[in-house]
Every structure is written in C-alpha cells, then in structure tokens.
C-alpha cells in the first residue's frame, strides 16, 4: 500500500482516514527520524520519548497538514523543536558513558579485515565523539544535512534560522569534525 505515492500524498490520505497510508509513511521515515533524534539526544529513553512525541503531534495535526513543504521537512521540524526544547532543559551534555553506549550500537561489517575494522571503528568512534562535542545548533544542522540530506534552505526552514546562519553552523561543525578525525 502506498508504494507509488509520495510522502505528502500518503500523509493526505491518512488525514482522510486511510490507516494503511500511515503505515507506509511510518515505515519510510521512522529510521531517519529516530536517528536524528537519537544523535541529538544521546539518551535512548529520551530519544524514544521524543520520537513518540513527534509522531503523536504529527497525528493530531494531520487535518492541518498542507503540502507546502516536504513531509520529511515538516516531520523533522516537529522533531527539531522537541529536541531543542529538551536540549535547553538538559545541560550539560551527556557524559562519555552515554556516548559509549551509542557507539556500542555500531553495526560492524563482519567481512572487513581486522586492521581495517579497527581503523574504521576508530574513525566512527571519533566521528561520534565529535558529534557529541558539537554545540547543539551546529550538531542539529549537521545531522539534518547528513541524516536527512536536507539542503541549506530546508535546514533553515526546519530550524527557523537564516540561510547564512545555517551555512555558518555547518561550516564550523564540519571544521570541528574534520579536525577531530585528523587527530
């Protein structure tokens, strides 16, 4: 059901009462949304809560949904607002143990050579730590770019920031991650 339809069409169909359209839409976007939230708030329980809260708001707002932007952008906007609210409530950042917990979720390919596996594992670990160390605004922009492939304009729409501000955040995030990976 709904394989040939866009996300926006599925959302409109669900708003009209089609439950299967929601299932198809959820299957398409659940991973992307969950990873964005989980990498923004390292505590898994919080990520689960924010994930459910995001969908709950989208479900209740289905009648007001208008196809003025991509559905993923609209959904990420809801999630971003919840994440930012949580980040403002919880400072400082998560400690190293939580980061290690996230790193433990890595899915390592089994057929890679041991040295390469170690090297690649170290690179991913550094990337994960670099992401954790980023300021919230820079990390959110970076995740929206990397996880959801959003453009600068779409990131600006989701975060409510200006185009140049988003570009600046991405630039600094990119520089810090690059510096951390080069250590």
């Amino acid at each position: 059901m709904g394989t040939g339809k866009t996300d926006e069409e599925l959302m409109l169909a669900y708003a009209q009462g089609d439950a299967l359209a929601f299932d198809a839409l959820y299957a398409r976007t659940r991973g992307m949304l969950y990873r964005f939230i989980l990498r923004s708030v390292p505590e898994r329980a919080v990520a689960d809560e924010l994930f459910q809260d995001t969908w709950s708001r989208a479900i209740h707002a289905r009648a007001r949904y208008r196809v003025e932007a991509k559905f993923s952008t609209w959904l990420l906007q809801i999630a971003h607002n919840l994440v930012v609210d949580h980040q403002r409530r919880l400072r400082p950042q998560a400690d190293a143990d939580e980061s290690e917990h996230v790193l433990g979720l890595l899915d390592v390919p089994e057929r890679e050579r041991p040295e390469e596996v170690l090297s690649d594992f170290e690179q991913r670990r550094r990337l994960q730590l670099a992401l954790e160390a980023l300021p919230d605004e820079q990390r959110n922009a970076f995740l929206l770019r990397m996880e959801s492939n959003l453009s600068l304009e779409e990131i600006a729409q989701v975060t409510g920031a200006g185009h140049e501000t988003v570009k600046s955040r991405l630039r600094y995030a990119f520089a810090k991650i690059r510096e951390r990976l080069a250590e």
């Binding site: 669900y14 009462g17 439950a19 929601f22 299932d23 959820y26 659940r30 991973g31 969950y34 990873r35 989980l38 689960d48 994930f51 459910q52 969908w55 709950s56 479900i59 209740h60 289905r62 009648a63 007001r64 996230v102 790193l103 979720l105 890595l106 899915d107 690649d120 690179q123 991913r124 990337l127 994960q128 300021p135 605004e137 820079q138 770019r145 990397m146 996880e147 492939n149 600068l152 501000t165 570009k167 600046s168 955040r169 991405l170 630039r171 600094y172 990119f174 520089a175 810090k176 991650i177 690059r178 510096e179 990976l181």
Partner: protein, 365 residues
C-alpha cells in the same frame, strides 16, 4: 553567536578546507558522508512502532475530535473575517449619530417666519431669539367696539382688514420696516399698505411673541410723554404688526418696575429694553373705571409723538395690553373689586403664561 565569535580557533588553515566544505554541501558521497553512513543505524523498537501505529489508528476512530480540531481554526477565521465589517458598520453608525446630533434642528417654515418677524436686533442673544413662544390663546369673540368718543383713530380701527391675506413673511418684513421708521421719528404715514381694526390685531396673542425680541435696540429715553391718544395726529392706515409692537412697548413702559422685579435674569433684561423702547416711543396708556359699569375699566393706549394708532376698550371683556392689564388688576384691588381683580389676573395668566406675577399681586393667586 558562539560559533561565529571565535573563527580563528575553529577555522582550519588548510587551503583545501573550502573545497572540502563545498563538496560536503553539494555532494551526497563526500568522505565525511561516507564515514557517517558507516555509523550505526539504530531504529525504534517494535514496541514503539506498535504504539505509534495504534495511536494513529485510534486517532482515526475519533473523527469528532479531528473534526473539532479541523473546524476550530475555520470558525475562528470566520469571526475574524467579519470583524472588519462589524467595525465599519459600528463606525458608520457612530458618524451618522454624531452628524444627526450636530445638524441644527430644522424649524418649520412658520417658525422661521416668526423669527424673522421678530426682527432680532444685532445685539440680541441667540437664546432670546429662539425661546419658544407660548401658543397664543384664541381670544374671545371680539364684540364690536363700543361707541367711543369721536376719535381720529376710529376710522383706522374699523378699516377693512387687508392683512389676513398677506403672507407672514411680508408682514414680518413690513413689521421690521415699520419699527425702524417709528424709531426714526414717525414715518408711519409712509406705510399705508396694511390697515386693520384694533380687534383684528389680536393684541393678547401678538404681544408675547413680540415681547422678548423686539425690545432690544431702542435707545433709552428719559421719560414717557403723557397719554395723548385723543390728540394724536391721524395716522395713515396702520400696519397691524406695527401697532402690535408699539402697543406692547407702550404697555411695558408703565409697569416696568414691577415687571423687572419679578422677571428672571434674562426676562429682566428684555423687560428693561422693552420698557426703554416704549418710553422712547413716547407712548402711554390710560386706565380708568368705566362709570357705567362698576368693576369694569376702560383702557386706552395712545400714540406718542409718533402718532401711532391708538386703541381702547373696556375690560372685561376687551383684553388690554399686558402692562395695562396689570394696572387694571391693581386698580380693581384699589377700588375694592377683589374678585374681579382675581379673575382679571387669572385671565392675564391665561393669556400670558410666561408672565410672572408682581409681588404685590401674588396674594391674588
């Protein structure tokens, strides 16, 4: 912003940084993107998936809630859409109400004519000119003028009335003209157009109308001449309103002190001017008992040097001018006809509702 304040700490010095960053922004498969895709891909638990799907289905089973949520903004927008219309209507109503309040009240043409006929002087206050006049009480049927001593003015009193057919506006204009001429020293002979018998002038009804407003622009005279009704030069056919005004002025001349005492502040000023005008005109009146009928009084108003037409009568029943009427009441009291005096005062009040009874006559009420 914190990420802009310290560029030197974070901006790498390498020349290839900008190129790598542009590639990061443009390309989907940059080196950093490839590394990011190697990060674990965690997904929500199946329990969370089940909860979300169950919530989505339960939301569809509550269409009322969804309909309410969907209709709430619409209803709000309908109200907001009508708000400017309501505001415009309220503003229009307010402006119309203010305009209706500010527009001067329109008076019927007859009232305008009356106002013109009153010939307000330049110095007369607006309030004096617009004071509503009491409705004149129709005078009793006027009997034929009783035989009187041969009087040069008699021929004018019995001249056929031609004023009835004249419009009021013309009368008013003539009235004003006549007043001016009489003030100037007697050119009444130049106004022969209107001739009316004394009984046609309805003095009782004309005087209240002329009283407040005509009494203004006359210069103050030192004294009133003695009554000279019988010796007045024969005037031309008299203008009805001229005679009315003049008789009112003459009537006010004699009892002016009493009237001034009893009048209100505005009325006192008008009364003073009225008396002044009458005095300047040199007219007067005579009140004497009628020998043939005890309790009845002969009154007579005569023209002064201006040779205004004179009138006379016997009260009761002939209603005299206001001042003469007051004098008749006093004369009745003086001569012991108290009941007649009470009746005369009642008649006077009926004819002049705005007249304030002098203090010496208040015991009769």
């Amino acid at each position: 912003m914190s990420d802009i304040k310290k560029p030197s700490q974070t901006t790498p010095p390498e020349h290839g940084f900008d190129a790598e960053f542009d590639a990061f922004l443009r390309e989907q498969d940059s080196r950093l993107a490839a590394l990011y895709r190697k990060l674990p891909h965690p997904e929500p638990d199946a329990a969370i998936d089940a909860q979300v799907r169950a919530q989505a289905r339960s939301a569809l089973r509550m269409p009322n809630e969804a309909a309410a949520q969907a209709s709430r903004p619409v209803a709000r927008s309908r109200v907001q859409r009508w708000l400017p219309a309501f505001g415009a209507a309220a503003t229009l109503l307010l402006v119309a109400g203010l305009a209706w309040r500010l527009v001067p009240p329109t008076t019927p043409p007859r009232r305008e004519t009356a106002a013109i006929a009153d010939a307000p002087a330049p110095g007369v206050a607006q309030s004096e000119r617009t004071v509503p006049m009491p409705a004149p009480v129709p005078p009793p049927a006027q009997p034929a003028t009783p035989p009187a001593p041969v009087d040069a003015t008699a021929q004018y009193r019995h001249t056929p009335n031609t004023v009835a057919a004249k419009p009021e506006s013309s009368i008013a204009a003539d009235n004003a003209k006549t007043d001016a001429k009489s003030n100037a020293g007697g050119a009444l002979a130049a106004a022969p157009k209107i001739a009316a018998p004394a009984s046609a002038t309805l003095p009782g009804s004309a005087e209240p109308r002329a009283f407040p407003s005509r009494a203004v622009e006359q210069p103050r005279a030192k004294s009133a001449p003695p009554p000279v009704a019988a010796t007045a030069p024969p005037p031309p056919p008299a203008a009805m309103e001229a005679e009315t005004a003049r008789s009112a002025a003459r009537a006010a001349a004699a009892p002016a002190p009493e009237l001034r005492e009893s009048a209100s502040a505005d009325g006192a000023a008008a009364m003073q001017a009225f008396a002044d005008k009458a005095t300047a005109g040199g007219s007067s009146f005579v009140v004497r008992p009628e020998p043939s009928a005890p309790g009845r009084y002969h009154w007579e108003i005569g023209g002064g040097p201006t040779a205004a037409p004179a009138r006379d009568g016997i009260y009761p029943p002939d209603p005299p001018p206001l001042a003469a009427w007051v004098q008749i009441v006093r004369a009745m009291l003086r001569d012991g006809h108290r009941d007649a005096a009470r009746q005369a005062l009642a008649d006077l009040r009926a004819q002049h509702p705005d007249f304030r009874v002098p203090p010496d006559l208040r015991g009769l009420e």
